[in-house]
């Protein structure tokens, strides 16, 4: 191989190496699984959603809360009924809580991580669940643990099963730790943002977009918290309601009045 070809091969290899990290994120299994554009979050309250049109709405329901306490994982399954039609696409959400809630540090041990993986995989056994979402406000010291958890999950999930996470909007504005996570989307939650509220809303209201590419596939909004920004309609939207979903709420979503 002459010098020019060697150089070209080297540059190609280097460029490929540079691009390889982003190509992991190009795939979106949620689209591959034909999830509709709007996903309603069904949280820990009785939800009767049999009126939903499965072509237009999917449901991400809180399946369980797993609490990291000391060196244990406390399993708190859903306690409120959920009724949906069998055609509706379902995403089982696992909420993980740790020291922010318990006030006590967690061991963040490999055994805990394995336990979490087992319990999260088990949530797929619920009827008609075709995707998984993790809801974990990981503190800085917990991020490495979370990253490894997501890697373990991705390895043990079937290749076609989507893995989604929720993300604080501030992560999506500029934190880099979301890069290279083996997930299909990070849903930026543009509600209940606490101290970041005005900053993020001003940021989005001025026409800016989330910096993290993985956050540009969806939005997370709440029906009672308006956000003045231009929404990209090609992105999936997840919607949270402060009360159980009623038909009128869904109609209002369709009309865009909430």
């Amino acid at each position: 191989m002459n010098l020019k070809r060697k150089l070209a091969a080297l540059m190609l290899a280097l460029v490929s190496f540079s691009c390889s990290k982003t190509s992991i994120q190009n795939r979106n299994r949620i689209d591959e699984n034909n999830f509709p554009q709007t996903v309603l979050w069904a949280w820990e309250r009785p939800e009767e959603l049999e009126f939903l049109d499965p072509r237009q709405f999917a449901v991400a329901f809180l399946a369980q809360t797993l609490v990291l306490k000391g060196d244990e994982v406390v399993f708190q399954p859903r306690h409120q009924p959920l009724k949906v039609r069998p055609e509706v696409k379902l995403m089982a959400v696992t909420r993980i809580e740790s020291r922010k809630v318990t006030g006590a540090p967690s061991a963040l041990s490999p055994a805990q991580r394995e336990r979490l993986v087992e319990l999260i995989l088990k949530s797929r056994e619920l009827k008609n669940v075709s995707a998984i979402q993790i809801d974990f406000d990981a503190a800085s010291s917990e991020r490495e643990f979370y990253r490894r958890l997501l890697q373990d999950l991705r390895e043990r999930l079937p290749d076609n099963v989507p893995l989604s996470i929720t993300a604080l909007a501030s992560f999506c504005v500029g934190d880099r730790w979301l890069e290279d996570l083996p997930i299909d989307e990070a849903v930026p939650m543009i509600f209940r943002m606490g101290a970041d509220d005005q900053t993020i809303k001003s940021f989005l209201g001025s026409g800016k977009d989330f910096h993290a590419p993985i956050c540009r596939r969806s939005y997370g909004i709440a029906v009672d918290e308006p956000v003045k920004m231009s929404f990209d309609r090609s992105r999936r939207r997840y919607v949270f309601n402060v009360r159980a979903w009623a038909e009128q709420d869904v109609l209002s979503l369709q009309q865009g009045t909430r």
Binding site: L14, G174, Q254
Partner: protein, 904 residues
Amino acid sequence: MRFLHYILAVAVAAVMLLNSVPVVRACGPSYKEPIFVFKESPDLPFDEFTQGKIGILRPIMGRKTLVIAYRYLNGGTFSADEQDALVQALKGTAPEDDGSQALKTWINARKQFVKEDQKLPEIYTERPTGGYDFFPNCTKNAFEVAVDTLKDRATSYGAEDPNVKAWLAAQDTVFQNCSGEAQIPSELGAESPLWLRKDRDYQIAAAHFYSLNFDEARARFEKIAADDDSPWREIAEYLVARTLVRQASFAEPETKKRELYQRAETYLQNLATGSGKFSAASRKLLALVKYHLHPDERVVELGRMLTGGNDEHLRQDLIDYVWLLDRFEARILKAEEDRTKKQENPTQQETASESNIDKEPSNRFERFKRGETIGITIYLKKPDGTPDYSKPIEIEFKYDVSEADILAAFEQKLGRKLTAEETKEINEGRRYALSSRQWNVSPNRKWDNGGPSQYEGCNYADCTKLTFDLIPAFLRSDELSDWILSFQTEDPRAYRRALAKWHKTDSHAWLVAALVKADKSSLGLPEIMRAGEKVSRDEPAYATVAYHLIRLKMDLGNKVEARKLLDEILTSQSGLLPGSAQNQFLELRTQLARGLNEFLKSAQRKPIAFYEEGNLGKLSDMLEKEKQFWSPEYSEKPREQYAREVEEQYRDLLPWDNRFEFDDKTLEIFNWHFPLQTLAEAARNPIVPDYLQRTLVLAVWTRAILLNNDEVALAIAPEVPRVEPKMTAVFDAYLKARTVKERHNAALYVLLKFPNLSPFVQGGLRAFSTSEESEYYFEESWWCAPSDIDYNNQGQEVPKVVPKPSFLTPAQLDAARREHLALKAIGHGKSYLGRHVITWARTSPADARIPEALFIAARANESYKYGCDSWESDEKTQQQAAAILRRRYPQSPWTAKLAAESPN
């Protein structure tokens, strides 16, 4: 070859830059926010509140809080045990133990009777209902009884007895049903000992109970209950009722559910009145049955029990009462919402805001619901073949239109033939739509919007509000419910109701309600105010009554009387009031300040707690919590070293647990309406403690520098190193400057070296670092230009309004306004400083401080997530500063440092 190596080096460097992880920095501010008033709950800890120190009551407080307050307002009390239970209720702790500890105890107990290598059972206490939810199936008591029985049998017959082992094996089978399955232990024949057979009968019944075979379980428990020789007779009697209740909770339809609850009610009424071992448990279960069967009666019954006292299940009853009240309110409001919508005439009552809404989607939705039409949607494809969700093609059809006609309609809309994929998609869409229509027109479908869902309250601005005409008679017949709903409603008739009830009862509860609802034009105001004046200071109602008397006096223009009462309270009640109440009185006193001294005295408030990242409490509590965060897996330091470092971080913070601060409202008044001269006076006022003088002094000096007010700057300058010794060395050049230019440059350098300086008085516990200590990372450093915009509850922008203290003269207010405009024009601190550094560098290139100043200016104007405009920054200033540094001072270590830390 050298050329190749050069290319290689460049390429590798480029890849490394593209893929490099930036230096990890402390992410975002960690700021301990002082809290001065808890608006919706009692002050922490809750113990004082449950002991009767109820402070100033607010209608937005939670209902559990108001129930407790109501008893105290009416002269009642709670025992020490009851107070403990109420504290747990306020904390939201569930009354029932989750059973996890009891389960562990069982696992450990059985270990002694099995081989070491035998696998431990995995027991989950919750079982799926068959849908997506779980319920607690095996509770704490089940494991406790199992432990006690195992120990007893082992003691009686020996741990190695094969019958004891058989008992254990059967018990393991029972507990397998906790989280699923239907495993039933086998029946025993006459060859087994009697005790084992009796135990086995009970275990079999329990296994059926846990595997949801309720009829079988109940029949077996009834048999055991009739067996005088069974040691399980008494518990089995109780478990018959429990089986009925558990079965009822799963039963459908509603008629079947009610029938089972009624059977349970009859059964339990006998058990509850007896004196047996399970009579207390039976009464508790009966309460649950009443909750389901007779909610109207139950809420009234609970209201009376919670008011009267002597409630053996106080915590559970308080929870049940509030749940029922919330549920009734939600149903009332939902019914009213539906009724209003049906009655509305859109053409006459359409408001301006509604006229822009396209009603067609709503009308179409209604046609779908009625089954008249169906809607079919397809999505065109993007060039890469994936659906383009931003371009739906939707057509509405009559439900009985043929497949062929539907396809033709789409072809007409698209203006072309359909592809095979599109045809398939349309046909699938038709099938879904027809299936939906079948559901819509089904007679079994509930049209009641929301159905049995728990309506947890409405946060929308246009929500229906609870008014008196909506409250049903049975709720108004209960004094407690009547009071709570009247106290909390926004119905303008609430005042009249409270007044009438106070006339009738002469109770403090209704006097408080009337005063809270009153305004200066309220009928009968003088009378209730006179009554309020008679409430003595040791009465639980005093703080609320006094607060509103003062408020009303102020509204009526009686500032002298209001001030007098406030001063009496602040003197006599100091230390006796809850912190929130104390601070609310001080807030009123600030509004009545006649001069700077009075303002400053009442502006100092003691935080009742601090908040940081989900943690709420005293700083000393936060310290202890943070010391626990050490993790052997992730920490590089030994635990002792970690603890020492944390203690060092908190060393300067801990005194603030007992210090006063300025709250946000006071800070806004300082920053908006205090001109520089007045702020300087405040900074030197001996009423202000030295730790608060510090923040004023630093703000005054910085503001004076920015506004080019040398007179004020020089006058306050000697105070600066006194209040912040860290600044002494750098500040010395400013104090010793002989010319205006020298002084200006020295001031600029001081500002650069201490990035926490700001022309605005700041609150909270902020670190004061040098630029070096902050590692030249200037995320939230210096100041942001003041904003004139605020946001209302609907998230809409509104002009910011800060109340003006009445003691400031028009001249002072005008001076403050001009200064505000000048500070606004100066803009954000980083950009301002950067521009001035560039000018300084051009005019004084030989000044030894220039390279460092340029470095700071360049780093300050980089892009930061939490910058004044988020990621936006003054790129031009940043690039200019960096360019001057590189070009003019190529050998300076600051240039090398910039190159290393900011390669771009």
